[in-house]
């Protein structure tokens, strides 16, 4: 079966490609969460894996906009999982992540997914929760272009 492909976007890390697979570890592919149900070959069909919280402190969510069949009734809304699995996955580059999902058609489904993260994005130091470098401060909003003001002042006039 073709692997289900998604995108992982934990905070502090840029988007990385990932492979979701299910069942016992076929690390580079395999079935989706529930065998046969969520298989997809087009990444757009599966959607995105997005972290909900900081790595190690929360979990993550997998938003699946459309099921593999293309049928809206097969829409998978969100899969959530513990952060630890994701952290391990990020540290090693490949690892299991517990996921829980809901399909409109088949109802709640649970299982394991294996997240494969390209080596360029799997720095263990980042995966262990080190804060990302501080973001550049937001630019000050530009002042509004017009002002009207009431003035009081002093004047020295030559007209006497």
């Amino acid at each position: 079966m073709a692997p289900a492909t998604a995108v992982v976007t934990p905070p502090g890390l840029r988007k990385v490609a990932a492979v979701l697979a299910g069942g016992d570890p076929p690390l580079d592919g395999g079935t989706a969460l529930t065998e046969g149900e969520h298989e997809a070959s087009d990444p757009a069909e599966v959607g995105r894996v997005e972290s909900k919280n900081d790595v190690g402190e929360g979990g993550f969510a997998v938003a699946v906009p459309e099921g593999p069949s293309g049928d809206e009734d097969d829409l998978l809304t969100t899969r959530e999982g513990p952060a630890a699995g994701l952290e391990e996955a990020m540290a090693s580059g490949v690892g299991p992540v517990e996921v829980h999902s809901r399909s409109r058609r088949s109802g709640p489904v649970e299982g394991k997914a294996w997240v494969k993260i390209p080596s360029s994005c799997s720095s263990p130091s980042r995966a262990r929760g080190r804060p990302p470098p501080p973001a550049a401060p937001a630019a000050e909003p530009e002042p509004r272009p017009y002002v009207v003001a009431f003035e009081l002042g002093l004047i020295d006039s030559p007209i006497t």
Binding site: R144, V147, A149, F150, E151, L152, G153, I155
Partner: protein, 141 residues
Amino acid sequence: MTYAGPDGGVWSPPEYAGVVLDGRVLPHLHLDGQFVLNFVIGWMGSLSARLAAEVSRLTVSLGAGPLVASGTRAGPPAVYADADVSAILHSDGRVMLLFRAGAAWALRAQGGPMCGIETCDRYLARGDRILFARLGVGSSF
């Protein structure tokens, strides 16, 4: 209430009130118009083109332009060349504070020295100078 200024002119502490409208027309170019009233010298209006720099919430500008003021008692309005520096501090909201100081020089003479026993009539010579400093509060939009 007035008192003698450094050039023998008249200082009139805060009897000077006015309205200023300033607009940014290009990133570093503002146009500015103002009209003020003073109980001693009458009215004064000016237009200026301003070279402006914005640093965070502070806009500092140098302006130059014509200034017209009520002239001598019987004469037409007096025309001056005005130059000033201005600072506008914007708050988080729409409120802003303005400080401006500058000078204007008369472009032509008006009237003549006609002094009576106790007083002289208004007289303006070419190059005579107005000095001013203003503090304003207003709104940006």
